[in-house]
Amino acid sequence: MIKPPIPDNEHERLAALRDTGLLYTPPQEVFDSVVRVAAAMFDMPMATLSLIDTETQFFKARVGVSAMTTTRDCAFCAYTILGSEPFVVPDACADERFVGNPQVTDAPNIRFYAGAPLLTPEGYALGALTVMDTREREFSADDAQRLRDLARQPAEIMELHRRLRHLERAYGAALREIDGLNQQLAESIAPATRSCVAA
């Protein structure tokens, strides 16, 4: 087993991932739907939507996998996020990067893996949409293309979450500024109004 390398844009990638506000949050029907479609589309017993944090892989959605997180070191998706194309491992037992990986030797006993990166418009790979099996499988270039197409949907929704949070933050700042100005103004005219009412 070989520890996955860190992407060149890791710092910005993690910032974008945090911006989505989706790390370590409860399951959401929309992402569950995506992994269900992926599992059905490729007839696979397992499918996940993984987000790769500094040291942890978090499954925002999953079918056929019981764990909610794994370490990043043993995450197949940690390899997927190194590029912008789907990453396919036809047989993990014959791939030195994954021989002895606890995800292979123990539950969920991954033998086949295919993952498409979840890319932001800037090209940061937040995680991956994956399909997996406990036996070795083939995955055609056409299959990879279809997985990549499907991965664009959750990536788009994550991007909208990110934009929404940006806007909400800006909106919150504007509201606080207004409150501050109102407060200043109220304080500055309070003596005048008091004397006015007293008179």
Binding site: E29, V30, S33, V34, R36, V37, A40, M41, R146, D149, L150, R152, Q153, P154, E156, I157, L160, H161, R163, L164, L167, E168, A170, Y171, A174, L175, E177, I178, L181, N182, Q183, L185, A186, I189, A190, T193, R194, C196, V197
Partner: protein
């Protein structure tokens, strides 16, 4: 032929307008959902429709040239009445649609299956539909796939809506910052006095 309106029609239309997606150019995400629906359901025709007051707007499609249709003759006008898929196995044998066929480059639509695009509040904005020019049936697997993709599509639309809502509030706040905030401030000061 008159088609029943959903009970929440007014609020439904408000939600639909709030998405800002009516009568707008194609967006890749929705085109891709239409393609995925056609593939998952193994059908040659698919569309994402938005049901406005009088007409159905085709936001995305494969195998279909129409970019709008009259609500009175639209399959999707029935789909938005319920929260589960609406299926017409053979439009030619269905009195509701037999006389107002939907034309495609491959011929008239005979089979239709549409899942409503439901917002979090339960408003059906339109439908994700798959169609064929020959009669057919919707398999359980295709139904499950269609419903799942409709949920993804509706979530995308809902996100557009939420983004626009926050954008509007944000702009309103900025405007308030630019004009004098005095009136709002004077009132609490007077109350305090």
């Amino acid at each position: 032929m008159s088609i029943p309106f959903p009970a929440n029609e007014t609020l439904r239309l408000c939600a639909l307008r709030e998405t800002g997606l009516l009568y707008t150019p194609r967006l890749r995400a929705f085109d891709e959902i239409a393609c995925l629906a056609a593939e998952v359901c193994a059908m040659p025709i698919a569309m994402v429709s938005l049901m406005d007051a009088e007409s159905g707007f085709v936001k995305a499609s494969v195998g279909l040239e129409a970019d709008a249709m009259e609500r009175g003759s639209a399959f999707c006008a029935f789909t938005i009445l319920r929260d589960e898929p609406f299926v017409v196995n053979d439009a030619a044998a269905d009195p509701r649609f037999a006389h107002t066929p939907l034309e495609t480059p491959r011929g008239r639509v005979r089979f239709y299956a549409g899942a409503p695009l439901l917002t979090a509040e339960g408003y059906a904005l339109g439908a994700l539909a798959v169609m064929d020019t020959k009669p057919g049936a919707l398999t359980d697997a295709a139904r499950a796939g269609l419903v799942s993709l409709a949920r993804v599509c509706a979530e995308l639309m809902d996100m557009h809506r939420r983004l626009r809502q926050v954008e509007r509030s944000y702009r309103a706040s900025l405007n308030e910052l630019n004009v004098a905030p005095a009136p709002a401030a004077v009132r609490p000061a007077l109350r305090a006095a």
